[in-house]
Structures are given as C-alpha cells and as structure tokens.
Amino acid sequence: MDLLIEILISLLVVVGGVFGLVGSYGLAKLPDLMTRLHGPTKATTLGVGAVLIASMAFFLWREATLSSHELLITLFLFLTAPITANFIAKSFLHRQVDPRRDLPPTGTDYGWASFDAPPETADDEPNSLSGPRGREG
C-alpha cells in the first residue's frame, strides 16, 4: 500500500514538473503575446495544480491530516488565472492593436466590444419593463 501511494505521489509530482516546464517553454518560444498567453494560463496552472494535489496526498499519508491550505491555493490559482489572462490580453489589445487595421470587421454597425461602446437597445433603458425577462411573459 505504501509503495502504491509513493508511486501515485511521484507520478503527480513528475507530471506537475513536466507541465510547468512546458508552460514556461511555451512562454519563451511562441511568436506573439496572444499565443504566449496559452502557456502560463493552461499548462503552468495545471502543473501547479498537480503539485498541490501531490502535496495534499503526501501530508495525508504522512501525518494523517487533511490540510485545506492546498485546496485554497488551488482554488485561488484556478480562479485568478483566467482573470489575469483577460487583463493582459485587454491591455495588449489597447496598446498594440489598431482596431481599424488589424481586426476583421464584425459584420454589424458596431465595432468590437473592447473598443466600442455596446449598442443601445430598448432593453437597456432604465426602469423599462420590456427587458429580456419581461418579454417572455
């Protein structure tokens, strides 16, 4: 039984290390920022998640106590990675990309949401009863 747990923990640690390395390598190698975002947000988060699960299993096996700190860290990292990626992508879009020249047309009267204000419709009016929920009834 001990051997089985050791194999499981070692496997998780090795998988975490490989994923972390792949994420950082992607950050260094990929050609521009929008592709570079994929490495850290997916691979590195998965690698840290595997390491945290390994740590949880290790302390459960050694000291027979289930610590909630790893779960907290995992939850926090998994929640914040997409937010960080969204912020970085948005700042990149506003600094480096010309919306008239670099982006494809949206096919409507209005531009991309990050650059143009959203179109005003009847649903947006304050105190309006004809919202999406009221229209169904």
Partner: protein
C-alpha cells in the same frame, strides 16, 4: 522514489523560472513582461510547495498563499496601470 521525483520537478520549475526570466528580459512589449512576472510567481509557488514536501513542514503553505494573492493583485494593478495610466480611479 519520491525524492527523485521531487528533484526532477524542482529542476523543471527552476528551468521554467530561467525561461520566464528570458522572456522578462527580452520583452518585447510591456504586457509580455507582466505575463512573464505572473508566470514567475506561479513557478515560485510550485517551488515553495515542493520545498515544503521535502522538509515535511506545513509552514510554507501560508507563504505560498500570500504569494498567490500578492502576485494576482500586482498583475491586475499593473494591467490597470497600462490600460488607464492609474490604478485607483
């Protein structure tokens, strides 16, 4: 067996830190550098957790939790600064 796996993972994350440092130095845009710093924080958390497994103490969990929070907040603040020129409007 766990020791070898831990050494392997430590080497992987340390190499990852070096690759992040390369991206931090080369750039080319500010958003790239912010992304590299954010990834460095995540790799540092992994290193702390692995070191905690090696020394078999639970002391480093609080440190890594603080690291995660400070890293997230600093990344968001830097992005706001790039976008708006100000952090708290």
């Amino acid at each position: 067996m766990i020791t070898y796996a831990l050494v392997f993972a430590l080497a992987c994350f340390a190499l990852g830190l070096l690759l992040n440092l390369y991206r931090l130095a080369v750039g080319p845009s500010t958003a790239d550098r912010v992304l590299a710093l954010d990834t460095m924080v995540i790799n540092g958390i992994a290193l702390l957790i692995l070191y905690g497994i090696i020394t078999e103490t639970a002391v480093y969990f609080e440190a890594s939790l603080l690291f995660a929070m400070v890293g997230f907040i600093s990344t968001v603040a830097y992005c706001r600064f790039i976008l708006r020129g100000d952090i708290i409007e």
